[in-house]
Symmetry: C2
């Protein structure tokens, strides 16, 4: 067992191949459309230009506090793409961006254009709001990814100088001793840097930042007093009367992280923090940190999760709402938050070995994440509401452009999410055609997948080795699957179900084929009564795909539709859309010409067509709903 | 016809008596509980104290920009109460407050404590946000009401000095020429002052303020440039990316008022402005202004009105949402906005002679206004959502305490809303026991009402005169009434329906009795499909009263309930609650222990009890819903 990894985690990207009918076109769209589009936006929007440090007061396009993070996520996404194959234009653009970043870095390692040219002398004085450590975290992730993808060290060296500066300033006797970031991100990045470099002090720094949070005396109050002004975002007047303490919750700073039990505040900040905590729990074996992660996870999944895997229901603060508060039309479910949930879920799976985390990962990935970008990769959703009044459409870009490159980097790094290396073998987390390679007992093993998932539930896996090799192959049995059939070498196989995985622990002859078949009958989903926004409605799911009704397929506004509660759901392959549609009988109610009426609206029979939620808003504006009414007649 | 009023409008309060089983206890509660409670809050909260101008930088309780309005509305409410009868303690408290206001007024008439002691030298430099004219408007309303109620002139004299200052500063050559208020209110107040004093320049000033709005070059942009800083409320960072121009709409400053067609922005600001516009249209006969009022009204009523008469669905800005956006749990429907709608509706009725405005007035009054205060008058709702997750309850007070005294002044001035004097007679707008007196052909006429409305639909009216007198008695036929019966002197009477009124145009013998009987069968209400938040649900209404289910009456959470779509609604007098309840058969669904399930929740039969919406949240916290699901089984 000498080659068994010390702990669970993703395989190196280089050992995983994704060659999949669902994902490969999307990844190619990221390479050929999204990354060039985003590069154009960063060049024309000022982010690249700002790195030249030429901005002076009075100039247009004041460098924003979070601009480095946009550049960094784009580099990270590009790096994953470069890891898969040669793309000289992209490679050159990345090198140009890295050279600009080098030029913007100070001799002591500091890098944040805003605090260099707009507010010099104020660095690290507004940690609550000013995003310097958040940007540093994304730069570090980019540096690690770029080095792994290309072997080049320039960006990795740059981010090590930056991380070393943070270590000095935030360590004992540093100017920010006891400080931490208002927008978590650097925690998980420092764990990546530790793993990439073997330097333990990056892990220690991450742990210090995590554990400084939520203490009294309160660092952010003290920094405000030292500064004598409110933070970058200022006091939010309208919030003051109702929740004076909300800002501490907003930045997950209301209690020490080991004591937190409820997911609160800004959703992206939250899941980035929790992902970093899970990494640290895995690295350190800290049981209290793991328990906090598990409590927070349970809170999200049992009270704050949209059916699409979206989180963060409150649009006014991009934040988690109260338990069960999951509004649809006016819900938020930021793309970045679903991505952060995917990141956290992968780490929780590695930490615990339980498949339930990948169940949620899959839900978010195939629904609330993919919905974040248009089919052509150049338009993006920031919020991903589960219903639309017809006014919602994707945008080319945002002033706060966190989501587009985040989408790109996740889709480009799908390799990291498909498999988990395990001390006794390999866990297949996602059913994606391609393969994973690992060493076992001195032999190189490749597990290949072939599937039309998510449209078809048949997954054929082949174990390729030169000689027979013993290991446990774990196949996640998705939580949506009510049953399954499994064969090995063409014969029915009874695999025990452990922690949500079918465990095939055996000696594998070269070329052994495993076939997992998951039933793909569409099902209705009902919400708990506590989910007031959608309770009593029905949603449609088939495999991991959540469906929605769009106006364009239904010859009129979606709110007029009501599903027959007794009608069968019919899966209908739709070659034009490239998806499997689900149709169901129902009624269309005729509009009434006032807001309210004592007459029940008249209704006529109709067939309601639904399409995958992720695909909506690609054919013009119109009403949409995931949760459909049922007719009561 | 010599005594016929020149135009429609309310009778003088002194000529109207309200002696009603529904309203009189509420008005007595305002006198004995609400006004003392509010006075206590104003004394302990700093509003009274601030008027001594003793605050200095560093002191606690910095005088707020809108504190005068709190004091003014309390005085106005107290004045209406004093008009009905002697109350020496209240009278003394009001005189004390007036003396304090006199002490705070500058020699030139200026009165705003914040700009006197906190930001001296900055008066009238931040009209968009700083509420000086808003406070002036409320002071003017208070001055007019106090004079009418008591005959005392101190407060009226004070507000005339203030209005004269505004007239100078905002008139030709004044320091604020072309300026206007970010929070409308003074417009309607100046019309009141014009009517009370006969001074035409107050009307002209009001018209000038209304017509300065929404012009380019933009006054608020120019004042910001002069000032060199953002306004009091600052830039709202989160709003910037999506709607850079929202602030102009927020303060109804996006277009000249005569060109506005859609109700947008802060709901209270909007309806106060529209009420002033309606007053001006009535006084000036300006057809364009009237047409704008009618367009804006139609927009509100056909796209933005809650079933309870609430308006302003967007909690993040206290603002109108888009058309048909009427969320329930997270809706807003501020008490002040419903009150403002009542104020606007009365003026629209006077302007047009159409009963449809009083239909909405009645809906708001009996539902979304009365809900604003607890049964004991000392706790208040700011938002009035149509559903509760169990966390909502009234508060004793608010940092921004606009609603409590607004509720008090409306309930205390119900006389102004019950009847409309008409050139050819009298229109009965509200069915409220009591009477209205007016002169006709040299005779004094009293029309008395006796009714158990809103619980019973029988309204007995008696026309008391010394000699027969000819006039048209108009009885509003409520829009909720599908039929009616009418007798005069005990005989069936066919009255023509004109503009929503049954018109009894005849010569009245002394003592003639008219009986109007309105059917009070409870009915289901359905929402138009466009109202996504509640479409497909059902609400219950009986007469003008909208019902809701509360947890306390239903032995469990309201979201678990679903009404049988075919069951009869049963009106049940409930002496304990002092209301007529409505019960209906339905089912209770059993909770499921996850957010979502492919199993339909199990259900058992139950009787669903509903109570008037206005009465909710008087018996502890619990879930509540106006719009109930229907069972689909």
């Amino acid at each position: 067992m000498s080659e068994a990894p010390a702990r669970r985690g993703p395989l190196p990207i280089a050992d995983v191949v994704v060659d999949d009918a669902f994902w490969s076109p999307r990844r190619e769209t990221v390479r050929t459309r999204a990354l060039p589009h985003q590069e154009h936006q960063l060049r024309t929007g000022g982010q690249f230009e700002a790195l030249k440090l030429a901005w002076r007061p009075g100039d247009e396009r004041e460098p924003h506090i979070f601009w480095e993070s946009d550049v960094a996520k784009w580099i990270e996404a590009a790096s994953y793409t470069l890891a898969r194959g040669h793309d000289p234009d992209l490679d050159a653009s990345v090198d140009e961006a890295i050279a600009l970043l080098e030029g913007a870095q100070g001799p002591d390692g500091y890098l944040n254009v805003h605090f260099t040219v707009v507010r010099p002398g104020e660095r690290f004085t507004d940690l609550r709001d000013a995003h310097e450590l958040y940007c540093a975290g994304h730069l570090i992730e980019a540096g690690v990814a770029h080095h792994a993808a290309t072997g080049k060290t320039r960006l990795l060296d740059l981010v090590r100088r930056l991380a070393d500066l943070v270590d000095r300033e935030f360590g004992p006797g540093g100017s920010c001793e006891g400080g931490y970031d208002g927008h978590p991100e650097i925690e998980l990045a420092l764990v990546k840097l530790y793993r990439a470099t073997g330097e333990r002090r990056y892990l220690d720094l991450s742990l210090r930042l995590v554990d400084s949070r939520g203490r009294d005396p309160h660092y952010f109050a003290a920094e405000r007093d030292r500064r004598g002004t409110e933070g970058f975002f200022g006091p939010h007047f309208l919030d003051r009367p109702t929740r004076p303490e909300w800002y501490r919750e907003y930045v997950q700073d209301h209690a020490p992280v080991r004591e937190q039990s409820e997911a609160v505040g800004h959703a992206v900040r939250a899941v980035y923090l929790y992902a970093g905590m899970a990494d640290l729990a895995l690295e350190t074996g800290d049981a209290a940190l793991r328990a906090a992660c598990e409590r927070l996870w349970d809170d999200v999944v049992s009270t704050k999760l949209y059916l699409t895997g979206g989180i963060g229901a409150d649009p006014s603060r991009e934040a988690f709402g109260p338990a069960y508060h999951l509004p649809v039309t006016d819900g938020y479910a930021e793309t970045c938050a679903a991505i952060g949930l995917v990141m956290w879920a992968r780490r929780m799976g590695a930490l615990t070995g339980e498949a339930k985390y990948a169940d949620v990962l899959e839900r978010a990935l195939y629904n609330g994440v993919v919905s974040g970008a248009s089919a052509d990769g150049t338009r993006y959703f920031y919020p991903n509401p589960l219903a639309s009044d017809g006014t919602v459409e994707r945008s080319e870009w945002f002033d706060c452009a966190c989501c587009p490159p985040n989408y790109a980097r996740l889709v480009a790094s799908l390799e990291e999410y498909a498999y988990t290396a395990d001390p006794d073998g390999l866990a297949v987390e996602l059913y994606v055609s391609g393969s994973a390679r690992f060493d076992r007992d001195g032999a190189s093993v490749r597990v290949s997948q072939s599937t039309e998932y998510p449209w078809d539930g048949r997954v054929a896996l082949t174990v390729d080795t030169e000689t027979p090799v013993a290991f446990a192959l774990r196949l996640r049995l998705p939580d949506w699957a009510p049953s399954h059939t499994l064969t090995v070498g063409g014969e029915p196989f009874e695999a025990p179900l452990e922690s949500g995985y079918l465990v095939l622990d055996r000696t594998w002859a070269p070329g052994t084929e495993v076939v997992l078949d998951l039933p793909m009958a569409p099902t209705r989903v009902h919400a708990a009564p506590a989910v007031a926004a959608v309770h009593g409605r029905t949603a449609i799911q088939r495999g991991p795909i959540v469906y929605c009704a769009e106006e364009i397929d239904n010859a009129g506004p979606v709110p007029d539709l009501a599903v027959d509660p007794h009608a069968a759901l019919r899966a209908v392959p739709d070659p034009d859309l490239g998806v499997v549609r689900v149709d169901v009988d129902g009624v269309r109610e005729r509009p009434i010409d006032s807001l309210y009426s004592t007459e029940r609206p008249a209704a006529e029979p109709t067939v309601i067509r639904t399409v995958p939620y992720y695909s909506w808003a690609n054919r013009g504006k119109g009403t949409m709903a995931v949760w459909l009414r049922e007719s009561a007649r």
